[in-house]
Amino acid sequence: MSDHTSKQFDAEMEAIRSGVLTMGGLVERQLARAIDALGEDEDTRLIDTVAADEQTINQLQVTMDQQCAQIIARRQPTAVDLRMILTVSKIVNDLERIGDEVKKVAYKAAGIRGNEPLTRMRYFDVGRMATGAQSMLHKTLDAFARLDVGSAAEVVDDDDQIDLAFNAIMRQLISFMMEDPRTISAALETVFIAKSIERIGDHAKNIAESVVQVVKGTDVRHASAEQIRAEVASE
């Protein structure tokens, strides 16, 4: 995209774009720490760091929304600029929500130590699901940075995998709980963790859809994966 006649406008647009990436980087770091917290020998200090990151992310959300509102008020942006600002405002919300979910994962993970079979499951299956969500998040931020609708469409596909993993974990937990009622409370906590990770996948998917909206100008929020692929492929 070529530059605006107004260099200051360019600088303001670049500031919100790089703000998303900064915020995204923080959320990614926070998620990596939460995944560590799922491990068997997690360090409780990790939880404090995750909580501190969450504060910073919340603050960034407020700042970014202000910046978007100011550009709208001062520049009356149109077309691609308008789509970018509307999208940034949505992405910032999704990132903040991911931050919330990550915090929940970290806290719940710390709360359910000790129950042997569930700990193993948490480490392997839930951990794998979390890694999947992590790579979705990375890919979707990358798609935003490069305005790459192709990889945005892949993220939408990846979300189906996360949903499948979530269903598999639910089935497993149900069999644990039926076999041994003493696992119920830990199993319920694990349900919450898995649900949070599934939500992270959903938010990453929302961000990917927002990228398509910036580039293509089409709202693909309620479209199927096939429709999105077709839209991305269209001229």
């Binding site: 995209m1 009356q76 077309a79 789509r83 100008g217 089409t218 693909v220 929020r221």
Partner: protein
């Protein structure tokens, strides 16, 4: 006046949303509204100022009871194009039109040699950039077009003057001073007087050439409000340098560059997702 209820039940949905493409699956009112009927259209219109070709094969529809805005950088031909609609260029020698401007529903080609330009200007009136009231009273400014047409009946003139001044949202401010000179009014009032003058002959199309560029923001807002009212009665074409103004008042927008029509579409589309990169560069301020 659209009530809240109507606004809720009949959204003006122009946003493209995927996933609702199945026929019959869409809730009523969310589809694209059909394009309104044509009031006029230019067909392969070219225009020459002597040897300079200022318009190149411009074909564009003008929809009835809608506001169509012409935007583009200085010298792109938008004012030239606008002026073709009431044969303003006839006043200077050496100018030449090619192509047609067809006025519906009677299919009159406004540019045809046997069409009287005076008659064209009765049907297609014009408001200029700077308010230009005649050095006459407010009343006579508005009555002028009718007098030229041969109307002598005092009652009819009174009626038409009041109706036109009301139509231009000026009546309440001038009803007790109709005999004062038009140029005593403020800039915004003078411009509304010119609109009343243009309305008096019951035109079918009104042309506005940068009607607010000499006005302050409040007067500008009142003219813009007036334009949205006027479109219920007439079809409007407006040239504006102010892109936000085009976005605010128009239903359709045409982007012109170097005498060519680059893109014509619904205003909602032009300002959110134009098809052509040249349009996008211009409206986002990346031009030049």
């Amino acid at each position: 006046m659209v009530t809240d209820m109507e606004a809720r039940t009949q959204p003006k949905a122009h946003a493209t949303m995927l996933g609702s493409a199945q026929p019959g699956a869409m809730p009523p009112g969310t589809g694209e509204e059909p394009a309104p009927p044509l009031k006029a259209e230019s067909r392969r219109l070219s225009f020459h100022y002597g040897s300079f070709k200022a318009l190149k094969d411009v074909s564009m529809p003008v929809h009835e009871h809608r506001v169509t805005a012409l935007i583009g950088p200085s010298g792109c031909g938008k004012s030239t194009f606008l002026r073709c609609f009431n044969r303003m260029h006839d006043l200077y020698p050496g100018n030449r039109y090619d192509g047609q401007i067809v006025l519906h529903p009677d299919n009159t080609d406004l540019l045809a040699a046997d069409v009287d330009p005076i008659e064209v200007r009765m049907r297609v009136s014009m408001v200029f950039q700077k308010p230009n009231p005649f050095p006459k009273s407010i009343y006579e400014n508005v009555a002028y077009g009718l007098r030229v047409r041969g109307v002598r009946n005092k009652n009819l003139l009174d009626e038409k003057v009041e109706e036109s001044l009301r139509g231009a949202a000026l009546w309440d401010e001038v009803e007790n001073r109709l005999n004062e000179v038009g140029s005593n009014l403020s800039g915004g009032q003078q411009q509304r007087l010119c609109i009343a003058r243009a309305l008096a002959t019951d035109p079918e199309i009104m042309l506005f050439d940068e009607p607010t560029s000499a006005l302050d923001p409040i007067a500008t807002a009142s003219i813009e409000e007036l334009i949205s009212e006027l479109k219920k009665k007439v079809t409007i074409l407006i040239v504006t340098h102010n892109m936000q103004q085009a976005a605010r008042v128009s239903d359709f927008t045409a982007y012109m560059y170097l005498g060519e029509l680059v893109e014509f579409d619904k205003t909602d589309t032009i300002f959110f997702k134009p098809r052509r990169k040249e349009t996008e560069d211009y409206i986002t301020g990346r031009f030049g």
